[in-house]
């Protein structure tokens, strides 16, 4: 398993799941919060990776 993106998505999924169950109650609220959190994780990870792409290290 050497795929960075896949590992990042798995990590985002698991952490978002834990945070959702810590922060929210009720199925509807949890689903909305989870999707927002998971999407934010993935989006900002890709954004930061893209911004760091020109770095020499």
């Amino acid at each position: 398993m050497n795929n960075h993106i896949l590992l990042m998505v798995i990590f985002s999924f698991l952490v978002s799941l834990v945070f959702t169950f810590l922060a929210k109650h009720g199925a509807r609220e949890r689903i909305k919060y989870f999707l927002l959190l998971f999407g934010s994780f993935v989006f900002f990870s890709i954004l930061v990776a893209w911004l760091m792409y020109p770095f020499p290290f």
Partner: protein, 226 residues
């Protein structure tokens, strides 16, 4: 006796301002009270003949329609007395009722936190929060196992260096799973592996998230959260 020489008897409802000591002898008891004479209206106030005095059960006499007086004697307790403050509602229950409840809370909190520190999600299971218990157990265990699978390293309890100590604390936050894995010889780590850094992050975050889960169980046991 010569009736012409006698003083005129005041009619009922009229005042006798000249001699307050006499009072109004034609009327009944409470008006003989000297406190009444002190609070009689000035002479320029026209008496309309309506009922002017309000006598309550305690015999305290007050004037109706007059301004509220600061004099404690002149208080109309029958109609608009001072507000009754519900002191009993603010009182805490007696300590003999609170003590067993507090003790139960402490025991419940300690049991939940210790269970959560041993196994992820077990604290929530102790508190009856089964959905959260299963999610935390599954998620954190999978994260930790993935970290080991990706050649991550379990750091020893080495407190000579700050970073080593912090890494150990983060790893050991997962509880018994860390110690069982160490006893079984897992988590040696391979720094040359492509996924070594990823794997360590998985292990750290699993332990740190379990600390948050323990804090959540603490809050639930203290009834700060549903």
């Amino acid at each position: 006796m010569n009736m012409d020489e006698t003083e005129p008897v005041p009619e009922i409802g009229q005042e006798s301002p000249k001699d307050p000591a006499n009072g109004n002898l034609g009327e009944t008891g409470p008006e003989a009270n000297p406190a009444v004479a002190e609070h009689e209206p000035p002479s320029h106030v026209e008496d309309t003949g309506k009922e002017r005095l309000n006598v309550d059960e305690t015999g305290i006499v007050a004037e109706t329609g007059s301004e509220p007086s600061k004099d404690p004697v002149d208080v109309n307790l029958g109609e608009t007395g001072p507000e009754v403050i519900p002191i009993a509602a603010d009182l805490e229950p007696p300590s003999c009722v609170e003590a067993p409840r507090k003790e139960l809370h402490i025991l419940r909190t300690m049991a939940a936190c210790m269970a959560g520190a041993l196994v992820p999600g077990l604290g929530h299971a102790v508190l009856g929060k089964w959905d959260r218990a299963f999610v935390f157990l599954g998620t954190l265990t999978v994260m930790f196992a993935l970290g080991l699978q990706l050649h991550g390293r379990l750091f020893n309890p080495d407190f000579s260096d700050v970073f080593s100590a912090l890494k150990f604390i983060a790893d050991a936050g997962i509880g018994m799973i860390y110690w069982v894995s160490r006893l079984r010889g897992l988590g040696v780590g391979d720094p040359a592996a492509y996924t070594y850094d990823f794997a360590n992050v998985f292990i750290y975050v699993a332990g740190l998230l379990n600390m948050l889960v323990i804090a959540d169980a603490f809050d639930i046991a203290q009834e700060r959260k549903p």
